[in-house]
Symmetry: C2
Subunit: 342 residues, 2 copies
Amino acid sequence: MKAVGLLKYLPIDNEESLFDFETEKPTLEEESTILVQVKAISVNPVDFKMRSPKEKVEAKPRILGWDAAGVVVEVGSKVTRFKAGDEVYYAGTPNRPGCNAEYQIVDEDLAGHKPKTLSFAEAAAYPLTMVTAYEALFDRMGLTFDTEKNKGKTLLIINGAGGVGSNAIQLAKLAGFTVIATTSRPETNAWAQQYQPDFIINHKEDLPTQLKALGFPNTDYILCLYDTGVYWKTMAEIIAIQGKICSIVETNELVSLNLIKNKSVSFIWELMFTRSMFRTVDMYRQSEILDEVAGLIDAGKIKNIINPDLLLSPINAANLRKAHAQLEANTAIGKIVLEGWE
Amino acid sequence: MKAVGLLKYLPIDNEESLFDFETEKPTLEEESTILVQVKAISVNPVDFKMRSPKEKVEAKPRILGWDAAGVVVEVGSKVTRFKAGDEVYYAGTPNRPGCNAEYQIVDEDLAGHKPKTLSFAEAAAYPLTMVTAYEALFDRMGLTFDTEKNKGKTLLIINGAGGVGSNAIQLAKLAGFTVIATTSRPETNAWAQQYQPDFIINHKEDLPTQLKALGFPNTDYILCLYDTGVYWKTMAEIIAIQGKICSIVETNELVSLNLIKNKSVSFIWELMFTRSMFRTVDMYRQSEILDEVAGLIDAGKIKNIINPDLLLSPINAANLRKAHAQLEANTAIGKIVLEGWE
């Protein structure tokens, strides 16, 4: 089969940083896995982070990629969620070879049924960022879709125009929260706008001042999608009494926990790979989440997050290098998707 | 009425650090407050912390004290939970004069009905540490009394022999958790033992090694009752995947949040005064908690945490100075209680 891989870290403008190669089609060996023919993939910052460790040198090419849609071609003996022919979408796990390949082994507990109303390309844009947004709001912060209870409760999404932000805005609006997203550039502002948060403010300007002006000096929940340390003091200032802060972005800064003590605040990490990396007993939640979201998408309640201008074809090393380069430069708005094999 | 107060910080061996004085009996002015005749009080580390700010100089004596049991003598026009003659126990709020006085105004939402089977002295030992322990486990970490669900789940209580620890061990055992408490001295070990945690380990020795030896290399929940910064790295190491850490003790150390990221861990502060200080809409939870615990106590499910050897009488400045001195020196085991007026 065709695949794209790397042997060691090289700058993305080097043709060997990601290269095309031929390899054996994987064979199903585990009872609870499925073999998927990959039709479309998406690219996330985690891809270039996983490409980057300079000390890692492989004997055989390493395959990246954690966002895909495709067709099930074979299922393990204990698989109950899928059968051959089913269309699926999933993020997968860093413990297995990624989706930058024609065929891939996936744990059934990590895959969802592809939304029926979406193309493979549109579906591939969602899994990693959607599972992240969903887990952050509902599994980590413990929020619910109880719109009556959530009425009047505020959620601030710092850096709201990325993939996770786009999904989080939509999920939180469906759940009935007042959603305030931050962006900075006109392009990111326009992108976030289409998901209809209640307010958009500028994270290059003072957040407390802008929140006060909106009439929300404190927010009940904060989802931090930018360096946690950079926003720590600001979040400590604006979080509500007994509020919750959830972040997905690590930081090199050391922080003062005391700043959030008097308000009895919670700080909660969300890492989309925690469940699959450690194979937790509740790993199947990711399958459930993707199925639930597919229902919301097919009901017209969740909008596309693919950027049609960033749809590349075919899936190959040259296009993947373009995608990595855009993510590294932080110039992409909306999800970059690659579709089809040559 | 009689009261004990201070005008400014003085070392506890100074007779003016806390002194007896006569003052006006307070009058009920707010609709949702009750006037209580104080029969017994307990003393907590917060008392000497509140006594300590050196810059604070008062024109009139300031009254400390946040643990009391007594009798309701008058109720505000909107009070529904209590009537004159009811016996109550409560911690109160730093926003009002404390319980080191014959009479005290208390928010009805912060008071519970005194357990019927306890003396005033025994009851006064509980409120502050019990509400702290209860809020930490159930309101902050979101645990429940569902013993079936909690079976096999582990809770580590760091510094388990204090007031909060003694209560937390008992509540967590009632909820069905496997409870591991840490102590260090033979006396604190013996004290914690009477509340029957499943295991006691020594926090002067390596916790991960001891936990591994017990067969619990990771614990699902940690309640930190000692300087959070001192235990941060250890807690990050031993907390389970998707585990929760709740702490009540501030720290001067800056911490690396990254250490708990890959496991998607939650860090949650519990401050017993958050609800009353900020007068949150759910402040009434403290009344509910105290009533619920009174039921558990009267059913024989919660043991006394008063140390009979540390029961002082009467309530006066000399005995309060003794109590503060013992807490400052960290030599008390079990709760110090003062009872009756001369």
